[in-house]
């Protein structure tokens, strides 16, 4: 029903314009990353001598090896980048996994059962979508601190699992599962948990895949919360680490290493998006209905 092969006469002559605009779009999108790539292959002196050359230099592997293993040593003593990448990975996976598990169970309860207080609980959960962590930053810090969770993975991840991103999406999807499936399962003697495991979960595979991508990126890219909640440098996530590295953005920073780190920070989420593109696009668009 969408783009069909026979719309050509409606667009004659415009195709070259379309390609042109699209290439411009790609160029603008890719340009900052390309610059980062080039910078990550030079020495700090090359970069300091403005303008920076636009072609990659010979120091690519050296720079990456240096940041990965040693990190940056400047006004900010960063841990080795591989450690920061590891922190980010752990955090992102826990957040994505945690949110999916928690929300799929809640959505199942909300969709497949009728019980007193259901509407109230639904609105409470819906409310959590409306307030991002930036708005409740101080009290949340206090709560986490009172619970002794500063500088811990739990403290990093739990407050971010609290918002109900997945619940709404799953609930919406569960509402579309045909009644006949439920009735057939009940006749076959399956209870709700069995039904969940054998029917609902497999059917939800696409949605779970899409949400995994969205939540992984959400978790990986967290900034404010990890910044506040960790005082130990060794727990820095890569996104926080990069910002600390540039200090006040002056020219004394080892920009080549910073750019190398930046590309390393960007690589995992981009890979996830590119590889899981199909599920991700579908899930993102559907989740807003």
């Amino acid at each position: 029903m969408s783009a069909s092969h026979n719309s050509a006469p409606l667009q004659s002559g415009v195709n070259w314009l379309a390609h042109g605009v699209l290439w411009l779009g790609i160029a603008i999108t890719a340009f900052p990353l390309y610059i980062a790539f080039v910078a990550s292959s030079l020495t700090p002196q090359d970069i300091a001598q403005a303008p920076m050359p636009l072609w990659p230099g010979p120091h690519l592997l050296d720079n990456y090896r240096q940041t990965l293993i040693q990190g940056l040593k400047g006004t900010y003593l960063s841990p080795p980048v591989w450690l920061m990448l590891w922190n980010s990975l752990l955090m992102a996976l826990i957040i994505a996994g945690g949110k999916i598990v928690v929300s799929i169970l809640s959505a199942y309860a909300l969709a497949f059962f009728r019980f007193p207080g259901r509407n109230v609980l639904f609105w409470m959960i819906f409310l959590t979508l409306m307030l991002p962590v930036e708005v409740r930053i101080l009290p949340t810090y206090e709560v986490v601190s009172d619970l002794g969770l500063i500088n811990s993975m739990a403290g990093l991840t739990l407050p971010l699992i609290a918002s109900a991103t997945g619940t709404l999406l799953f609930r919406q999807f569960f509402l579309t599962i045909p009644d006949e499936l439920v009735e057939a399962a009940r006749m076959d003697g399956a209870g709700p948990l069995r039904f969940f495991k054998d029917v609902v979960l497999p059917l939800s595979a696409t949605n779970i895949a899409a949400l995994t991508v969205i939540l992984f990126i959400f978790g990986w890219n967290q900034y404010l919360w990890p910044l506040l909640i960790t005082t130990d440098n060794r727990l820095d996530t890569i996104v926080v680490g990069i910002t600390k590295m540039i200090g006040s953005g002056d020219a004394a920073t080892d920009w080549n290493l910073v750019m190398a780190t930046t590309l390393l920070a960007v690589l995992p989420p981009v890979l996830v998006v590119v590889l899981m593109r199909r599920w991700f696009v579908k899930g993102l668009v559907d989740s807003e209905k």
């Binding site: 390609h19 779009g25 809640s106 497949f112 930036e134």
Partner: protein, 294 residues
């Protein structure tokens, strides 16, 4: 909005909901409630004296010249980011909708900024526009434009606007493309046969039918500009120079963490909460009355 056939168990649903409710209560409602309560208190930074002052904090906040400046700044910033992200997003989606071959590869490439953290986007643009070593900065200087975001407030503002918009175009592109592909081709063919040339087809048929998507992206864009851009600002300018890039969300952070004005910061949080809830409610109401396809 309700299934007809449900399971009869009465206790099980509560168990299923328990994890989410537990986490939500502890890490969302409790702090949220605290924020609202704190906004009504006057506390000294070390927690020794606590005084209930009602709406005094709010009055002080609204009377504060800096705060009002931040409001205008945020409005300007949000508008700029939203427009700069939506217009190219729509243009690119329209073009991508027409190109059949290579469409997938193209869409994948365009999605990349979505995966990049706002803070990192900020770092990338900071690097390109750094007045001493930035590539783009050098070109600007070469073209005779004075550029120094470390000293000039409006230059810094443009820097954060560009970084924020660059990242958000991908999101808009995605949704606009989906919206365009949902329009039946036969509608456009009927319009062509009715005598409408391409541009006319766009603004009489395509754009009106895209309005739910446009509205949705507008709200999402505003929420993004209000909150998610924190990372960009902190990475790039830390609200400076001289508060030039201090948006409302950044001010909450600064006043709370750096200036330790707990009451004021909490009051500002509450104001922001109200704005977000209002925006989300508006969007929810609007989505209820969507245009239906025949």
């Amino acid at each position: 909005m309700q299934r007809k056939v449900v399971f009869p168990q009465k206790g099980l649903p509560y168990w299923l909901l328990a994890p989410q409710l537990a986490i939500t209560l502890v890490f969302f409602f409790w702090p949220g409630g605290q924020a609202m309560y704190m906004s009504l208190l006057l506390q000294d930074p070390f927690g020794h004296s606590v005084q209930f002052v009602g709406l005094e904090n709010f009055r002080l906040v609204f009377a504060d010249e800096d705060y009002l400046q931040a409001v205008w700044r945020t409005a300007y910033f949000s508008l700029a980011v939203t427009v700069l992200a939506m217009v190219p997003g729509l243009a690119l989606a329209v073009m991508a909708d027409r190109v059949i071959k290579g469409g997938t590869a193209y869409t994948t490439a365009m999605l990349v900024p979505y995966a990049i953290a706002p803070a990192v986007a900020g770092v990338l643009w900071l690097f390109m526009l750094n007045p001493s070593i930035g590539v783009l900065a050098w070109w600007l200087k070469h073209a005779g434009v004075a550029w120094n975001p470390t000293l000039d407030g409006s230059d810094a503002m443009w820097l954060v606007i560009l970084a924020s918009a660059w990242k958000q175009v991908a999101y808009n592109f995605l949704f606009f493309l989906a919206g365009l592909q949902a329009i039946p081709k036969s509608l456009l063919e009927a319009a062509a046969i009715d005598g409408a040339r391409p541009f006319r087809r766009f603004y009489t048929i395509v754009f009106p039918l895209l309005s739910p998507t446009t509205f949705f992206l507008l709200v999402v864009g505003l929420v993004y500009a209000f909150f998610d851009t924190f990372g960009v600002i902190d990475a790039v300018s830390q609200g400076g120079p001289a508060s030039a890039t201090e948006t409302l969300v950044y001010k909450v952070y600064k006043d709370g963490i750096h200036s330790l004005d707990l009451g004021g910061s909490a009051a500002q949080s509450v104001v922001l909460m109200v704005i977000v809830v209002a925006l989300t409610m508006i969007q929810f109401r609007f989505i209820e009355r969507r245009v239906h396809y025949s």
